[in-house]
């Protein structure tokens, strides 16, 4: 994975961390849907509230 760069080569450390994390999650055998949800939340929407993260981690089934 390449280092996360944003405009003009500035290193975006959070994105770098998120990308590494998602890659590790995929390699650890986590479901594709989970990885996709987290990618959308962390990288595309950049939503970091507990509510948004919970939705991404647990999906629709927030309550057992």
């Amino acid at each position: 994975m390449t280092t996360a760069l944003i405009a003009e080569g500035t290193r975006d450390v959070p994105t770098q961390v998120f990308q590494k994390f998602l890659q590790a999650l995929g390699e650890a055998g986590a479901g594709v849907e989970l990885v996709v949800r987290l990618q959308k939340t962390l990288i595309e929407e950049r939503a970091f509230s507990e509510r948004a993260l919970k939705q991404a981690v647990l999906g629709e089934e927030s309550q057992p």
Binding site: A7, F21, A30, L34, S49, E50, L53, P64
Partner: protein
């Protein structure tokens, strides 16, 4: 990202109207304290980011940018307070103008306004750390590990990384916390099933054996397996709809016995002791006003952190800065860690009570179901109420707050009301009085109740299974995120640590060429230890001087910025930062900035004109890339020298026939340059303990030293049989001798008549040739290619060469051996 070409400041802070032409290159604003240097820095930051951190940072109280940003005479007219900067964006090869007024700081008028330009400007705005003051510098060095971590995290924009880590950890904890009551529900359901089947152990075989015994009594075929869909009463006829419901005596008695046991557990000495302990703990918390406020706030802040999103407060719609608000709230939560610890202790003690109350509620709910079926029906209101109270108690004990309510609930439930015991007793007597059921009825009752409870258990297990999967997933995500982010950050810190040590060694290579440092991240803190002359690693403030510490701050900042911005680190504004670097290493700092950061434009302020000259002598700044403020008035703002070039200014004085001013300036300049040349050429000068050397002691020494160096160079060229070099050196030495003689500088010690002290008395026509002679003399110390002053290399030990920074002047002083 950008380079700043020029800035125009109007009615901003202490500046009325000022235009500076940076030319996209390094630039210095020099002037005594209180002349408006920092106003330029503020204006630059304002134009680029819409903010002035000096006015919005910690401890600024009621000072605000909008109210106090305009010049004091324009405080009611923020429209007039405006800053315009012209910047180039190298990657786009574009020149862009930004203009902001304090009337609307958030909005910049950008020309041209195209998406690529706006993307770059957004990046610039997102990196206000391009402006560094000494106050901030020290935060990287002398702060506590926790505070340093915050500062470095802020610089590296790690707040989002931390926010996600905390969020994922909370989700994992919350999912795991959910497993406890769900596990309790499964256990309770199993216990109920065991009672229904009158067995003591929950295994597939034992459940099947018990169920099949009842099925045999009813003539039903045995079940061979117990799957998720198995019905224990499979094949059993449904009761006729008109047949009244009746109490399954055996199961009811077992349930009543369990209820009595559960109620007895509440009244037991163990529970009484635990309730007393918890009440004492909670009372202690509740009676400490600071702590109770803290407990409340901690819960509030923790809940609020999860709700901070969007760009405005959901209550009042006031816009907020998400990052700042989160940081602010997190700081409060951290502050309340002690409170959190006390709360966690109380929660641990409460856990067994929760299990007891859940059990009482579950068993009472079952037995009160028998009450209306009894003959006559038993009034079970007291038991139902107590069960409801147990349910409320469970909710309150989980929530814990308000503490007063939790204490009241515990007090209320600690003793089981006699009415509850009486009701249970009455139901028991009603059930016990029932005739014994036939074998078939008993079997039917048992299978019916067992099947109901099996289904309850299955549902509880289904929920538990989902919750376990969620908890495992949440924990895996949280752990993996922590591991990955730690690894990435450790890599960043390792790279920064290496770069920092390398930069510091560049500055202090004379005595700390083995310098090393350790940046150690741990549990949200960032340890910082530096090598002290090979004696071990210590905090920077332990043994190093303040000047060295400031040097470390500059190097750490530069290392962090280089890592963060990489090739986009094209601009840094250093507000009086270099001033604090110890005097002995300023030259090296200049070299460091020039050589290690050739693509970065440094805009610097200093109140020390000597420092400015150092920067010029070292070619960190070129040409006229400096402005010197000489004074400041509230009406005029900074007053400056429009042209700081010494020679031009001297010419100007002469043109005005002001020989006195020209002479003073020439003398001042020669004093500085003579000291500089003696240093660079390692010229021998009679030592003065007070370091107050006079021009008459320094300039002759520098001239004499260069003469001798040329002699040494010629001898060296001869020894190597370098005839061409020898010819060039002879010519250069002759030229220099002629210029030195013309200046008479070397005669000062011998002939007071030509001493510089008498310059004031000369006429304009007499002094002009003096100026010309010294200008040419100083020019003889300069490399013709780069314009920098030559120096003897190395700094210590045997001189080996006379060279300049660009390397094109490189005269060998080392003779061939033998």
């Amino acid at each position: 990202m950008i380079r700043v070409e020029a800035i125009t400041i109007k009615e901003f802070r202490g500046i009325r109207d000022l235009t500076l032409d940076f030319g996209g290159k390094n630039f210095v604003v020099c002037g005594p304290n209180g002349t408006g240097k920092s106003g330029v820095v503020d204006a630059l930051e304002f134009a680029l980011t819409g903010n002035v951190s000096r006015l919005s940072g910690e401890g600024m109280g009621e000072i605000s940018l909008k109210q106090h940003g305009p010049h004091v005479d324009r405080r009611n007219d923020p429209e007039k307070a405006r800053v315009t900067v012209r910047v180039t964006i190298p990657s786009l090869d574009k020149t862009v103008t930004l203009e902001r007024s304090l009337k609307d700081p958030a909005t910049a008028l950008v020309t041209p306004r195209d998406p690529a330009v706006m993307a770059v400007l957004r990046q610039v705005k997102a990196h206000p750390e391009i402006v560094l003051s000494r106050r901030e510098l020290i935060r990287y060095v002398l702060a506590t590990p926790g505070k340093r971590a915050e500062e470095v995290q802020a610089l590296l924009h790690l707040d989002q990384v931390e926010q996600v880590r905390v969020g994922l950890q909370k989700i994992a904890n919350s999912c795991e916390k959910q497993l406890i009551p769900l596990g309790g529900a499964v256990s309770q359901a199993r216990e109920n099933l065991l009672r229904a089947l009158e067995i003591s152990e929950f295994t597939r075989q034992k459940v099947l054996t018990a169920a099949n015994a009842h099925r045999a009594a009813l003539g039903l075929p045995p079940l061979t397996d117990l799957t998720e869909s198995t019905s224990l009463k499979d094949g059993m006829a449904a009761p006729a709809p008109t047949k009244p419901l009746r109490i399954p005596k055996t199961q009811a008695l077992a349930d009543l016995e369990t209820t009595r046991e559960a109620l007895a557990e509440i009244a037991s000495a163990a529970t009484t002791t635990r309730v007393a302990e918890v009440m004492a703990d909670l009372t202690a918390l509740a009676t400490d006003p600071a702590v109770v406020a803290g407990v409340k706030r901690e819960a509030f802040y923790a809940a609020g952190m999860g709700l901070i999103e969007g760009e405005a407060c959901p209550f009042c719609d006031a816009p907020w800065d998400l990052g700042e608000l989160r940081e602010h709230v997190q700081a409060k939560i951290d502050h309340l860690q002690e409170v959190s610890g006390k709360r966690a202790t109380a929660e641990r003690k409460i856990a067994p009570l929760l299990a007891t109350f859940r059990k009482v509620q579950a068993t009472i709910d079952i037995v009160v179901g028998y009450a209306p079926l009894a003959t006559p029906p038993v009034v079970s209101g007291a038991a139902s109420d107590y069960s409801a109270k147990c349910g409320i108690a469970v909710g309150q004990l989980v929530a814990l707050l308000p503490l007063g309510d939790t204490i009241a609930i515990l007090r209320d439930l600690a003793a089981v009301p006699q009415a509850v015991l009486d009701t249970i007793g009455e139901i028991y007597r009603a059930v016990a009085a029932l005739p014994e059921p036939t074998k078939q009825d008993a079997a039917r009752d048992s299978l019916t109740v067992a099947q109901e409870r099996l289904e309850v258990g299955r549902e509880a297990m289904r929920k538990q299974k989902i919750a376990k999967e969620q908890a495992q997933r949440a924990r895996q995500v949280s752990d993996l995120y922590t591991k990955t982010s730690d690894a990435v950050l450790a890599g960043i810190y390792a790279a920064v640590e290496k770069d920092f040590a390398s930069l510091y060694r560049c500055v202090n290579r004379d005595d700390e060429d083995k310098f090393a440092a350790h940046l150690t991240p741990s549990m949200g803190k960032l340890g910082f230890d530096v090598d002290f002359y090979g004696r071990g690693f210590f905090p920077p403030g332990a043994y190093h001087s303040e000047g060295h510490q400031d040097g470390m701050g500059v190097c750490l900042y530069l290392g962090l910025m280089r890592h963060l911005q990489g090739s986009a680190f094209t601009l840094a504004v250093l507000d009086d930062v270099l001033m604090s670097v110890d005097a002995g290493h300023r030259r090296e700092v200049c070299t460091l900035l020039k050589k290690q950061f050739p693509n970065t434009q440094f805009i610097m302020t200093t109140h020390d004109p000597i420092w400015l000259r150092h920067m010029k002598a070292e070619k960190l700044i070129e040409g006229r890339a400096a402005v010197q403020f000489r004074g400041w008035t509230v009406d005029q703002g900074p007053t400056r020298w429009d042209d700081w070039d010494v020679w031009k200014e001297i010419d100007d004085y002469l043109a005005q026939n002001n020989v006195r001013a020209a002479a003073a300036l020439l003398r001042h300049y020669l004093e500085y340059m003579s000291a500089e040349l003696c240093h660079r050429l390692r010229a021998p000068v009679e030592f003065r303990g007070d370091a107050r050397y006079e021009l008459g002691e320094l300039l002759p020494a520098a001239v004499s030293r260069l003469r001798k160096l040329y002699s040494k160079a010629k001898e060296a060229a001869s020894s190597w049989n370098q005839k061409e070099a020898l010819g060039r050196l002879s010519a250069a030495a002759s030229d220099f001798a002629r210029l030195a003689d013309a200046s008479n500088a070397e005669q000062w010690q011998l002939n007071a008549a030509v001493h510089y002290n008498s310059w004031d008395n000369l006429g304009k026509e007499d002094f002009a040739p003096v100026v010309k002679a010294f200008r040419q003399l100083l020019g003889a110390f300069v490399c013709k290619d780069c314009g920098g002053y030559v120096r003897v290399s190395p700094d210590r030990e045997t001189p080996e060469s006379l060279r300049c920074e660009c390397g094109k002047t490189n005269i060998n002083l080392h003779k061939k051996s033998g």
